[in-house]
Amino acid sequence: MKKRVNLPLIIGLGIVILLIGVVVFEKSLMTSDPSTMRRGAFEWVNGEMVFYDAPGAPNAEFIMGTDIIGRDIYSRLIAGAKLTLGMVALTVLFRFLIGFPIGIAAGFGNRPCMWLTNTFSTIFSAIPALIFSLVILSRPELHDLSLGRSIVAFAIVMTFVGWNRIAKITQEQTSHVLTQDFIEGEIAIGKSRPMMILQNVLPHILPAVITAVTMEFARALMLLAELGLFGVYAGPAVLDGEGTAMLGLTGATPPSNYPEWGGILAAGRYGMVVKKYWLIIWPTVMFFISILGFNLLGEGLSLHINRRRVRG
């Protein structure tokens, strides 16, 4: 048989490695300081006077342009990778830590855990997770939290609305393993339940769970992007409503102090009003590439596992 190339796995892995590379080498990839505001300012560059207007269109110095208060979008996106992916990783970690044990217990027929998994699945198939998290995260009490607290708040809310998927997949996989004949053999030799989970259930369900966790990165990123599009992002804003009005940016979302992608997207919405495409397109592209990357990686992994299963 001709060996087929697992293209999703290769591309997905490539993108994810690239993203990790951006996080690791952010210092050398940035071309300017991501939080310096250059708005209505004159600067002497090589003996010439340069006037910075904001938002500034892409040029040689700022290849993706500057945002509404004159910060370099390219450098902000680079600097934001760590923050954004970190938030997403935290969310996925929480989702896993809650969903996985509950899923296993539900797979073993534990009533409360089955109820939790089913109820949350039902609730969030009726109410979109986005609406739910939007309502909570846009509450004014959460606006002035420090970055650290804000990230934790985001991770908790995004976990609350999304842990059920990992639980559901774990539950299905676990109960499938438990219907197999060899489980009776394990009962017959007197194996305890924890040992059975460790020795007979985990090895069988891990491939599917790893795939689900990878996909979960994409889902959490998606939620973050959607929240950003609705003007909700983590961390305090650099200006309040009055500040933006003073700058003549009436109607713009107060821009975020931190370069998290959702925040860049939120402030970039103004670009749609004033028809300055670069404000919105670049954060969107970053989200698109990373969501695609994690999705392809997950798909490639499951393809890889299924092929191995067929062969084995």
Partner: protein, 317 residues
């Protein structure tokens, strides 16, 4: 009696399903004597496997008692029963699915040894080798995975695994029915040898009547969750008395032309055991059915050295 290893007293198992309750085992009583092989035969759906699974507690009984060495084990908690698991082991029907495909032979056999602390940790490999040799496998198979073996070899691994904890009783749940005919007799002979060597007691469930005749000392015939007849193997095969036993034995080809009996073909299907059957459970198919059979369920009674559940006289008995 002193020589009884396992006593089953009026045990019942009802499986609840949306379509109605299924009375899989409906009041079975039997004794398994120390050192004997008790064969359990019957059509599929007669509840013969369930009896074995009740004894080894893969399913819990709805009512009734199971005595092991005179002690009621139906009331024991899961933790207390775990110690008894090493006394009672099971050899499953399909060796292809009875072993976790992701664990090596060494893991599979080491697990029960570790759970019940049969040998100290450093002697585990030696013990595994001894068990593998006992079931006729080379020691080199230790590191292999289950998928690398044939059905017969896998069944040998299952037997080694069952024997690893030093059981006194083995429930053989159709141990050869999914194997090639050429391998069947080898596994049966192995089981016979092991029984002598380790003074084991067997409960053999099978639908292959020749298999049962080959290694059983006594045979119990089941129909719709009830035992219809129990007797010594040779007597029962030579002179079946219950009409169902007669039909069952006659359906089995006899190699000796002169000894060939008239074949009794049962009309009709086995009734569903979800609906309660009035009268004798066999009356819908019995060639000797009489009025009393439809009205009143017969008790199992001792008749001429054999336990039989039938109203019949004359023709049938």
């Amino acid at each position: 009696m002193a020589d009884t290893l396992i006593g089953v007293k009026n045990i019942k198992k009802v499986f609840c399903s949306p379509k109605g309750d299924v009375r899989a085992v409906d009041g079975v009583s039997l004794r398994i004597r120390r050192g004997e092989t008790l064969g359990l035969v019957g059509e599929s759906g007669s509840g013969k496997s369930t009896v074995g699974r009740l004894i080894t507690r893969l399913v819990r009984p709805t009512s009734g008692k199971i005595l092991y060495c005179g002690r009621d084990i139906t009331r024991l908690g899961e933790r207390q029963f775990r110690d008894l698991r090493k006394d009672m082991q099971i050899v499953f029907q399909n060796p292809n699915t009875a072993l976790d495909p992701k664990r090596s032979v060494r893991d599979l056999i080491a697990e029960p040894l570790l759970i019940h602390r049969i040998v100290p940790r450093h002697e585990i490999d030696r013990e595994i080798c001894r068990l593998l040799t006992m079931v006729g496998l080379p020691q080199a198979v230790m590191t292999k995975m289950p998928r690398e073996f044939s059905g017969g070899e896998k069944q040998r691994i299952c037997i080694a695994r069952a024997l690893s904890v030093g059981p006194r009783f083995l429930f053989l749940d159709e141990p050869v029915s999914s194997l090639d005919v050429s391998v069947q007799s080898k596994i049966l002979n192995l089981l016979e040898d092991l029984k002598q060597e380790l003074s084991l007691t067997y409960l053999l469930v099978a639908h292959g009547l020749n298999v049962v005749r080959h290694i059983s000392d006594r045979v119990a015939v089941m129909y719709l969750g009830q035992i219809q007849e129990i007797g010594d193997t040779e007597e029962l095969y030579e002179d079946p008395r219950h009409p169902y036993t007669q039909a069952l034995i006659s359906s089995f080809p006899e190699p000796d032309m002169d000894a060939r009996r008239k074949r009794i073909v049962l009309a009709g299907e086995i009734p569903s055991n979800t609906d309660g059957i009035q009268g004798c459970v066999f009356h819908t198919r019995c060639p000797y059915v009489r009025d009393i059979c439809r009205r009143q369920a017969p008790e199992i009674k001792m008749r001429g050295g054999r336990m039989i559940r039938c109203h019949g006289t004359g023709d049938a008995i």
